[in-house]
């Protein structure tokens, strides 16, 4: 028997490979293949899915109970390490303390020999699927073998069966199938692609047959998502094609399999390069603005008293200012506003320098403390509960004091 393997994987639209919680793995020496879909609402699902597929394909003597225990131990070790890092987030620690678990679907396939005959055996839990399409298929509906723990009629939802990374809180009952190994192709797929495959039937096979590499796969995924034929979900695909060469050995003749860790590395490098380029661009623009400001500074610097009194006068506007500051720098399309903001900052900075020159006069000290006060009040701007003087003096003013533009800029 000759075996050819293809494997491709991608994340949800607008997410990174790093975010992808689907995983697959295979081991040629064990003739084992596995795919898993980490449940996105669970805790560290991609670590759980990764452990499940890799440990399963690498295990020689298989004891299911022990396999799960070993996987759970490994998951806990990895997660504990992350949680104990000094920069661990509060929500990570909370979920860990609450003993939240990782959840994942699983499909495992292995080939083995029994009395001179090669057999395949597979088990499946959740909405990841195994399909076997015989070489000379005539009737897809009758001849395509479908394995998953989904019950008929198959409805894809957000509540699949799964293996849990903690305790015995697994959901559903795994389905097992065993049969002689014959020419044809096994397809292991996570839910979005499996749903598409079940809808497309014969035409799915011809569409799949043209994928020669990861790029072909990604192109297909983008197109089918755009056409709303494929759900926006992490998507993984592993195919194992069997050709009977009348020999007793299993020979692996070709492998075109993407490695998720490599895809993550490449993408992160691309992001770093893009970020550096963006940083350079911003520095350049800032330098240009600075030189413009320095020319104007001598004319534009206003007395401290005036700036502060302006702040007091426009207390209603404070949230607006703070809001703008928070978004400043985040939006590329804010560059026109950027200059204005830099100018404002520059004014305060310049004013502070001006005060230093004046020191040790009391006026300078007072002004510094007022600037600090102003900054502090800006920090708590959105929670101000005291009525402001302007509003009190104009009780009938009915205009909202915060233009929607400040928010819509963040969309």
């Amino acid at each position: 028997m000759q075996i050819s393997i293809k494997g491709y994987i991608t994340s949800k639209e607008s997410e990174l490979f790093y975010d992808c919680a689907d995983r697959y793995a295979y081991d040629k020496s064990q003739n084992k293949f596995a795919i898993s879909d980490g449940v996105s609402k669970s805790f560290f699902p991609k670590i759980w899915a990764d452990i499940l597929v890799n440990k399963w394909v690498n295990s020689k003597e298989f004891n299911e109970a022990q396999f799960i225990i070993d996987c759970q131990k490994n998951w806990l070790e990895q997660v504990t390490e992350i949680v104990n890092k000094p920069d661990a987030k509060w929500f990570t620690k909370n979920a860990f303390n609450r003993k939240e678990s990782g959840l994942a679907t699983f499909v495992g396939l292995r080939f083995y020999k029994k009395k001179k005959e090669w057999l395949w055996k597979a088990d499946a839990l959740g909405d990841s699927f195994l399909f076997f399409v015989p070489k000379k298929i005539k009737d897809f509906s009758k001849e395509c073998i479908v394995l998953s723990s989904k019950k008929e009629p198959i409805v894809f939802d957000n509540f699949p069966d799964y293996l849990s990374s903690l305790g015995n809180n697994h959901k559903g009952e795994k389905q097992i199938m065993e049969s002689p190994l014959t020419s044809g192709t096994f397809y292991l797929m996570t839910d979005a692609l499996a749903e598409w495959f079940l809808k497309e039937k014969d035409s799915a096979i011809s569409k799949i047959s043209v994928w020669q590499n990861q790029k072909d796969f990604e192109r297909f995924v983008n197109e089918e998502r755009h056409n709303e034929k494929l759900g926006n979900d992490d998507t993984a695909f592993l195919s194992i094609k069997i050709e009977d060469d009348k020999k007793d050995q299993l020979t692996y003749v070709s492998e075109a399999v993407s490695n998720i860790n490599e895809l993550v590395k490449v993408q992160q490098k691309e992001i770093e390069v893009a970020e550096k380029a963006k940083e350079k661009e911003l520095i350049l623009k800032q330098e240009n603005s600075d030189s413009e400001i320095s020319v104007e500074q001598t004319q534009e610097i206003e007395p401290v008293e005036n700036i502060l009194s302006e702040d007091e006068e426009t207390e209603i506007e404070k949230p607006k200012k703070g809001f703008f500051k928070r978004i400043f720098g985040k939006e590329e399309n804010e560059l026109s506003n950027e200059k204005e903001e830099i100018e404002t900052d520059e004014k305060i900075e310049a004013t502070e320098e001006h005060q230093e020159e004046k020191e040790p006069s009391t006026q300078g000290v007072e002004n510094n403390s007022e600037i600090e006060k102003s900054e502090n009040s800006e920090k708590n701007e959105s929670q101000e509960s005291e009525p402001n003087s302007k509003e009190e003096s104009e009780p009938n003013a009915k205009t909202p004091n915060k233009p929607s533009q400040n928010i819509t800029d963040k969309f």
Partner: protein, 280 residues
């Protein structure tokens, strides 16, 4: 089906919490807390839940943009952006953290006490009048801005939490009519995922009405007003309503009047369910 678009990083949902911060929100409500304190507690918990549901362990996915808009509060007729951000920004930058003790399952049938950090995103405020129509007008601008930039995203959800009728110092009827008029404009905005939804939660004591189908079933002005400014509960939200023990009938409007704390929490869970039940 309308209002059924999946919330994802590619097509985030938009929840707008409209928070009545008028002076009457200072009245005692439950658990020794005022209405404004309890409202802040529920919103903080809801955002915390959205963070928990939309994180993969160490990273929060931006599947929802949240605006908290207060009316009354900072001045008698103010409409304030308390905070508007994508979910991950809330997670990265809470106002402050509170330490709580919480009992959770020990996995062996018992309970253990654990320390939990509770993020605070909104502080209670109670001051001024109830300029609800202005808050709706502001919301309309936000929704139009959102749909202009995100035409293919889920239709926005507005959850209005108030303890009374709109009041701006003039006639209550005028204030009510203004609010009704703007709410209808919002509910008539078209998007690829259907119309924006307005769900209303009224805090108070007295006879409770919820998810009614006809205005004629309602006995008081407060409930009648809420009926008028609330959206019909779409099919896609019926399951979430049932999950929270609400009886969602074919023509039910998404509102509850005189909600006690339990009903209040159930209603907010229902209203924000897009961020937990419809995620990719």
């Amino acid at each position: 089906m309308s209002n059924s678009k999946q919330w994802s990083s590619a097509t985030p949902g938009y929840i707008i919490f409209l928070v009545d911060q008028s002076g009457s929100m200072n009245e005692t409500y439950a658990e020794g807390k005022t209405r404004s304190e309890f409202t802040a507690l529920v919103i903080n918990r809801t955002i915390n839940e959205l963070i928990n549901t939309n994180m993969d362990g160490e990273k929060v996915k931006d599947r929802v943009f949240i605006s908290m808009i207060g009316y009354g509060g900072s001045s008698s007729l103010a409409v304030d952006d308390i905070r508007s951000d994508y979910l991950s920004s809330f997670a990265d930058d809470p106002l402050r953290m509170e330490q709580l003790k919480k009992k959770v399952s020990d996995g062996a049938g018992g309970l253990i006490e654990i320390d939990e950090q509770m993020p605070i995103f909104i502080e209670p405020t109670a001051n001024g009048l109830t300029p609800m129509a202005d808050a709706f007008s502001f919301t309309k601008e936000l929704i139009e801005g959102w749909l202009q930039k995100k035409p293919d995203n889920p239709a926005p959800i507005i959850i209005n939490i108030s303890d009374g009728l709109p009041y701006t110092g003039d006639s209550i009827d005028t204030a009510m009519n203004n609010a009704i008029s703007v709410s209808k404009e919002i509910m008539n905005i078209n998007s690829a995922d259907g119309n924006p939804l307005i769900f209303n939660c009224h805090l108070g004591e007295g006879k409770t009405h919820s998810f009614n189908e006809n205005e004629s079933e309602l006995s008081d002005d407060q409930a009648k007003f809420l009926f008028k400014v609330s959206s019909k509960v779409p099919e896609s939200y019926k399951q979430a309503a049932v999950k929270q023990d609400f009886q969602a009938k074919p023509e039910s409007r998404g509102f509850v009047s005189n909600a006690d704390p339990e009903l209040f929490i159930q209603f907010i869970n229902f209203g924000s369910s897009g961020g937990s039940d419809k995620i990719a």
